[in-house]
Symmetry: C2
Subunit: 335 residues, 2 copies
């Protein structure tokens, strides 16, 4: 079967139409007709080979929503015609300690959809049955794609850190990830604070569910919030004044990083005194993705998206490269 | 009532006999006849005013075991003659969100036994009833003192991080704190590894409960253990190669610091990919101390102690200042 796609043949090149042969479907595999595919900063990093793992030509795209076209003979829980999504990972070993513990996202042999294989800027994509997640009623194939990477990246810390509806949570950065975090946390019942250096985003942040907005460029803004937050979720990938952020944590509070700032440096004593900690996490497991989708459906949470036809993929990439949209750009399959 | 004690009148001075008037006992207070009192590095820090909070003259000592002499009229759960212990904190507000949540050790108004008041290098000490913890049968007033500061400092992270008996845990540093951590973790059922730069401590570490011993001065020692540990408990107060230690954590693993190294600097990406984190904690709550004592009694765990008569306090302090004992020095009341 021939897949029609858009691929880059070298770093920083425009994408061009590209076709490849998918081969026979494996017993445990699922083929998806792509409806739409979000664009993530990780697509840009892979296009430009920032992580030294890109194989060219590369077909980016790992925020995929679509409809099952075919399933392998070992797939019994999914059926053609079903609406599904697929995120960063296409498969994992299913048998290591992490996979067997439900932490498939931490499998050392997990394979990225666009790492050594082709992704969702295409009419079709293939993945292992364990990573193809059904969309509940009410979750649209037009907008669900970004939930499978940006969405799960911010939803997973809420689950992993046992955030409670009585908690006070801040989100640093109101962009492609942060805007979804505000929606999730508001529905989770938390006191939600948006941290941004762009005061013009206040109105949007409040519309997305923030009860408070803090311009962290204001001198002393963080100091006024000393000891306040049970979790601060960092979605930006820049160096921060880490001690000031840790100081804004309540006792037992956690600074959780999902934006890959290069490094973090912090004074130890305030962490000891307040039993504060910080860490990070990648995406989420298939089970957590299913929980997220149920939660999103129940609370009518979807990403804010701006649609481009897939044939305009280069325009869409240029828009993401040049700005910091407070939303997610999605390509609609027009092959 | 006159208390007989040993006090320093200025930084880096020897301790001298000192008496003070305790005054009437408050309704919620308990007076303890000191049997023995451990010496902690924090006593040295306070003696030398390293933290700028010392008031002179200072009577150090906050690892206290003894017998109740008197209780205030509001104390109904403790009785004179009962064996008890007292650690770093003498009181907390009992009504803030932390105290009411059982996290009295995180109370912002908690008062240290030797901060602005006098401690356990004395024949008697006074504290709030909430912080005076009964010793179960089998826990001796001769050796229990160090459990109340060094002991709870390493026991609390096991509880707070939900360490399970199936976990693999490393302890960095086999000294006054680390040796107790090895005993607790062995009894907890974990795979226990001792990390030290002193290969001559291997035999003692194994006797204390370590299943494995790693000389972290060996080149590549940590790299061989990549991904291994669910928790690494740092009891030393020096800068480490943080990235190497974080690399030795399993997915979801935690680097937990109780030795107050000045600062920590770490690369973020490995923390995100493996959902690793790091943090610290101070001592423990009264409820956790009671749990620790029950656990210690059931498993016959006590600190390794070397006893000095309290009248030889200056010799004992000198021994702690000049070495890195793999045990705890305890003063026995000989007033």
């Amino acid at each position: 079967m021939i897949v029609k796609a858009y691929a880059a043949k070298a770093p920083e090149k425009s994408l061009e139409p590209f076709e490849y042969e998918l081969g026979d479907i494996g017993a445990d595999q699922v083929d998806i007709d792509v409806s739409s595919c979000g664009i993530c900063h990780s697509d840009l990093s892979m296009l430009d080979n920032h992580w030294d793992i890109t194989e060219y030509p590369i077909v980016p795209g790992h925020e995929i929503a679509g409809t099952i076209r075919a399933v392998g003979k070992g797939v019994t829980h999914l059926t053609p015609g079903q609406n599904v999504g697929l995120g960063w990972f296409a498969e994992s070993c299913m048998t290591c300690q992490q996979c067997l513990s439900g932490n498939h996202n931490l499998c050392p042999d997990a394979v990225g959809v666009i790492v050594g294989r082709h992704g969702g800027f295409a009419d079709r994509v293939r993945a292992h049955k364990g990573w193809v997640i059904p969309l509940p009623a009410g979750v649209s194939t037009k907008t669900a794609g970004p939930l499978f990477c940006g969405g799960i990246t911010v939803f997973n810390p809420i689950v992993q850190n046992n955030v409670r509806p009585t908690d006070r949570v801040a989100v640093v950065g109101i962009g492609g990830l942060g805007h979804m975090a505000l929606r999730f946390l508001n529905a989770w019942g938390c006191e939600v604070t948006a941290f941004s250096t762009s005061p013009d985003k206040e109105s949007a942040a409040r519309d997305l569910g923030a009860h408070n907005f803090v311009n962290t460029a204001d001198s002393g803004a963080l100091e006024k919030l000393a000891g306040h937050f049970d979790m601060i979720l960092v979605t930006v990938n820049v160096a921060l004044d880490w001690d000031a952020y840790i100081g804004a944590l309540s006792p037992k509070g956690k600074l959780h990083i999902v934006g890959a700032a290069p490094s973090v440096e912090a004074t130890v004593f305030p962490m000891i005194l307040g039993q504060r900690s910080f860490g990070g996490s990648p995406l989420g497991s298939p089970a957590t993705m299913a929980s997220m989708l149920d939660f999103a459906a129940r609370h009518v949470i979807e990403p804010v998206t701006e649609a481009f036809p897939m044939s305009k993929v280069n325009d869409a990439l240029e828009k993401l490269r040049s700005g910091k949209p407070g939303h997610r750009i999605v390509l609609e399959n027009d092959f």
